[in-house]
Symmetry: C2
């Protein structure tokens, strides 16, 4: 995969690296924070994903002779710099949320503390991997929450390889969707790479390849008597697909097997799934699952359920694999310098919302008495205490005092030290379980898909004071 | 890259392959058409891209012993089928538009004629590669058309790796953006893989790593005296960035060099670019380019130009690499069976817009006297003639007669025969030149970014008659 190449980076990272090297700044200890400013999909949270692949990347990064020869060919790099890249590796510390954690705007999700030229190089690749996987895991979680709102339950499977943004986009999406709660994928390569459960039915072309639909259904069931899901809409869902599927279900049962499911891929999914559920139940097949596809999203799923639909498994394709929909498509995560050589740093810019937060910060998460998450607070280290003043990261006028009765936890862990993992990589099952547990601890208003209650991420007094001091110095320097 | 794996496919392609094999259908000659139903971005056209990578994929596809072992582990596949996959390769013919061609809904962009089990396997990977690259090339073309509308001209560079959907998403996007008219990319790996021009400036972190902005600018210019573009907004664009950049421009000139450019990354790009252009011109630096970034898209570019902005180079990131915006994110290309064993096939479904077009079709493109594209017509082979009746693919009631005076060309070529390319792979430069030429031949109304005139793709009488006959037979079978 391309991402293991140190050249998977923006050109300016390399020209700056050479510059740091030339000015003797390259070994200055830098602290960079990775964070986003707005939750995706106009929602209230994100599900953090992609950490383990990002750590794989950091552990494996090195410059091959081919890499150096290509850089040399660009005419921008001096021999002493290219020499210095031989034997280069990432030796930093990474502190991060574990995958599957529910996370919020403005808090550092991952902090790199490393020699400046190491931290600078990895920005592009870290953002690429973490932005996308977090986006897809969040989309999957939103679909799962929508499906589970049905009184009958419902599962999500990822179906989107053919519309995904490149092959790796498909594979990374299948991985991240699983973290967010999808139970499987249709993509075989994703199954192999990550051990994900595979799922599949058959296509319209299968039906068209036989003299008629019933013959096609029988042929498929004969081959996969315990794993057949029949696609109903090649000719006509209710008039042809359904009666033919019922015939095959009876024939399978007579032979000691059970039809696994039927799939709807067009038409009114709420109406059709009700009609089909009733027909299946009446015919004695209450265990046959109804799988639905056709440009699904969390809002389509919610609408199917609101109208009483009886879908058991939602095959979510394009919208999941590309994390589409309003506020989707990309997560705007950034990677900003917070400290260099022990000196806190920030960029001001013309837009206050794009200012960064200086200093080496810790993220504390508070839970109330029943375990529900209450708020997160960033400090320069100390655990927050009741009565302390905290303020909004983008609006200093909004401040409040921390209440009593909260339980505080350090929300992140050191996951890489001297460029090596501090422990074994987590499994995707662990990440998925964490997402499920964290989502259950979200305030209900924050879990809401649209117009959510915005979960509070606040600055401790120390961070706020540091920011105000540095911003003041920068403005003073301007004579403003 | 994952896409070279035959397992980069949906599970059902493999279960169907086994089924075709078991029923002796696998060697039946199948014809599948790849097409889309709606242009992306609510526009009037798409720029076809990704063909050469798709052909690489088809030429290289084979099952390794590892692949077979994984399939065996799934418990779905029989030894005789897995044996048959040893030595399997794609032996079909592919007829397609060349990359960079401007294409429209409902016309077959690529047709696979191959033994059924070969055509079935490749569906997922072909759609993945071609959907995404066509989407991005189209987005790039829209940005290029927007930028070139300025009286001063303007260029597009691709900047989006950090927000792209996976590393391969970034790399494929850089390639496709170049086909659509972008002049370069910031991503080094994309540059290496495809020989694309690389472009870059420096980041805010560079400025923050020095005692002050001027020192940082000087340090960068000293290293890259002929390739320096200075980022102006770390502190304050007009009060700090601009005067410091002017100082460095003068110093460079005194030393026999020229500052290449300045970059804006926040604020009002129209206003700032005018102010900065005036200041640069007044100071004797009319050749210094103004580069702008900050969540650009074709509509933002158009708005900057409409307000008199003076940007020379637009660095388009997220919106280009993820092909975002309304009607973006994914191209809904599909791959549908049109003929099997010489017998035309179609699927009806409940939704007429989702019906497929039967038969082995040829795509003819007509140009009028000045070379402007007039309409495309699908026939079963014959060249269209003036006076013939043609009809709309989705609405049979809309029909007309072909006018005199059109020049007809067969729009596609046989690019693969017996699974091997019929000639050398085209270069990206050729594809980019074709896109430029084709875009210039589009009717102006169709080139319009929003509410375009819909270019006409029509069915010849033979295709329309075939479709009506088969649809009639399918409905008769239903007793409808």
């Amino acid at each position: 995969m391309t991402v293991s190449s140190p050249l998977f980076t923006d050109l300016y990272q390399l020209t700056m690296m050479q510059g740091y090297h030339a000015h003797g700044l390259h070994r200055e200890e830098a602290v960079f924070d990775l964070y986003f400013r707005k939750p995706p999909f106009r929602g209230g949270f994100a599900v953090w994903a992609g950490l383990e692949p990002a750590l794989d990347l950091l552990e494996g990064l090195h410059f091959s002779e081919d890499d150096l020869a290509y850089l040399d060919s660009l005419g921008l790099f001096r021999p002493d710099f290219l020499d210095a890249l031989r034997g280069w590796r990432f030796r930093g510390r990474v502190t991060a949320f574990r995958e599957g954690s529910v996370v919020f705007p403005h808090e550092p999700l991952l902090t790199v503390k490393a020699p400046l030229w190491e931290a600078q190089l990895v920005e592009t690749a870290l953002l690429n991997v973490l932005n996308f996987q977090t986006l897809v895991a969040t989309k999957a979680a939103r679909c799962v929450l929508a499906a589970e709102a049905s009184p009958y339950g419902g599962q999500i499977v990822e179906f989107g390889a053919r519309r995904a943004q490149g092959p790796d986009g498909a594979v990374s999406a299948a991985r991240a969707a699983f973290v967010g709660g999808a139970v499987g994928t249709s993509n075989v390569e994703s199954g192999r790479l990550f051990g994900l459960p595979l799922t599949g039915t058959h296509a319209h072309a299968w039906v068209e390849s036989f003299p008629d639909e019933l013959t096609a259904f029988r042929a498929y069931a004969a081959l996969y008597p315990d794993a057949t899901t029949l696609l109903l809409d090649t000719v006509d869902t209710l008039r042809s697909g359904l009666p033919n599927a019922l015939k095959v279900a009876r024939e399978l049962r007579a032979a000691g097997h059970e039809l696994r499911g039927v799939r709807l891929d067009s038409g009114d999914l709420a109406y059709l799934s009700c009609r089909i559920r009733a027909a299946l139940d009446e015919a004695g097949f209450p265990e046959v699952k109804i799988v639905a596809s056709n440009d699904l999203s969390e809002s389509v799923i919610a609408s199917v359920i609101a109208e009483g639909g009886r879908v058991d498994v939602y095959g979510v394709g394009t919208q999941l694999a590309t994390a589409g929909g309003e506020g989707g498509g990309a997560l705007g995560g950034v990677f900003k310098l917070a400290q260099l050589g022990g000196v806190p740093k920030m960029k001001l810019t013309g837009d206050p919302a794009k200012s960064s937060l200086p200093g080496e910060k810790r993220v504390w998460r508070a839970a109330d008495g029943d375990g529900t998450f209450a708020l997160d607070v960033l400090t320069l280290g100390e655990k927050p205490r009741a009565g302390q003043q905290v303020s909004d990261p983008t609006n200093p006028l909004r401040s409040s005092r921390l209440p009593e009765g909260l339980t505080w936890a350090d929300a992140r862990e050191v996951v890489l030290e001297d460029g090596r993992r501090t422990g074994p990589a987590e499994t995707l099952g662990e990440a998925q379980a964490r997402a499920r547990a964290d989502l259950a601890r979200l305030p209900a208003g924050t879990r809401r898909p649209l117009n959510p209650h915005l979960y509070r991420v606040s600055l401790g007094e120390d961070v706020a004071a540091l920011r105000d001091r540095i911003a003041g110095e920068l403005r003073a320097h301007l004579g403003a």
